[in-house]
């Protein structure tokens, strides 16, 4: 039997780069940001724009989705669906809340959050800086983000291993890759 329900990692340490090490990690897709003049009602935003686009001079705006606190959901049944990303109906396991990505509490917060993929906007690239970043995803967590994002956008379910393998191949051949590499994507000889 296929068994690959793991939408989300099981600890804060697996989710986020420790604050003291963030300086080594450039801004990437999946990172969470907050700045003073955010779109009306927004408290935080997750970058969904492709990482390789960020450095291009022609890119003036970047795509972000709204991040909302768990505490603002209606009740625990809603929170359970977001945190699980799946549900059981008549003996069958089905994907739930496909438009969301669960976020462990970051910084000093105790309340988890979630990104709402349906609420997307573009913001000036000047807002998406290391200074405005409140949480940097680990490479492993970014794989889970890409998997969920792919499913939401294209309704294609890849396994965690498939997404990681693709990401490893992409990173390994990226001559502009900066910061610590994931252990599963070593730099090939000659690059």
């Amino acid at each position: 039997m296929r068994s690959d329900p793991k939408w989300y990692l099981g600890s804060r340490e697996e989710y986020y780069v420790p604050a003291r090490e963030c300086v080594k990690y450039p801004v990437r897709q999946g990172d969470v940001f907050a700045w003073p003049d955010m779109p009306s009602g927004w408290k935080a935003a997750q970058l969904v724009h492709p990482t390789c686009e960020i450095a291009k001079s022609g890119v003036k705006t970047l795509q972000v989705v709204r991040v909302e606190p768990f505490s603002e959901l209606r009740d625990d049944s809603q929170r359970a669906l977001v945190a699980a990303g799946l549900t059981e109906k008549a003996g069958t396991w089905a994907i739930a809340m496909a438009h969301t990505f669960f976020l462990w509490p970051w910084g000093r917060r105790n309340d988890p959050g979630y990104a709402n993929f349906r609420e997307i906007t573009v913001v000036n690239r000047d807002q998406i800086t290391a200074e405005n970043r409140v949480a940097a995803l680990t490479h492993d967590c970014r794989v889970t983000f890409i998997r969920r994002w792919l499913y939401f956008r294209f309704r294609i379910l890849l396994s965690l291993d498939q997404v990681r393998d693709l990401e490893a191949g992409r990173i390994s051949h990226d001559q502009n890759f900066q910061g610590p590499r994931p252990s599963w994507a070593p730099q090939p000889a000659g690059i």
Partner: protein
């Protein structure tokens, strides 16, 4: 709470009678939601069941595979999203950390999308083939 009705008609129908009078059997038994025992030489040969019963049996078959995970969640006090647990009145305090860790360790196989649709998967291993990307930007007419 959910109840399942599976009613078998008191009257068994022989194969010959079924062949000769199928419309009447369907009208008198199946249309009334009864399942009919079909016999041959007095021995049970098969059941003729209404469509609704077939759906229930399919559901029961699915439950057979998911039930161990549901029971484990109930025993561990994990608020696993589940219509079945809700129907049987199993209520648990919500703890998102326990929930995520339970799911990551459970033998759960995703089968359907949000609206019950079949999932599109790629079964073959994926291999990365590197391609260089051109950086030319869009330019607009004056």
């Amino acid at each position: 709470m959910k109840t399942v009705r599976f009613i078998v008609s008191q009257k068994a129908v022989g194969r010959r009678e079924l062949q000769n009078d199928l419309p009447r059997v369907i009208e008198e038994q199946i249309d009334e939601g009864m399942s009919v025992a079909i016999t041959r030489h007095g021995n049970l040969d098969a059941y003729l069941i209404p469509p609704g019963v077939k759906d229930l049996l399919d559901e029961a078959d699915h439950l057979r595979t998911s039930l161990p995970v549901l029971l484990a969640a109930a025993r561990a006090g994990v608020a696993l999203p589940s219509d079945t647990l809700a129907e049987y009145g199993v209520e648990t305090d919500f703890d998102w950390e326990r929930l995520i860790r339970f799911i990551n360790a459970a033998p759960i196989a995703l089968e359907r999308g949000e609206d019950g649709e079949h999932l599109t998967r790629l079964e073959q291993p994926l291999t990365h083939q590197h391609m260089n990307e051109d950086d030319t930007e869009l330019e607009y007419a004056e």
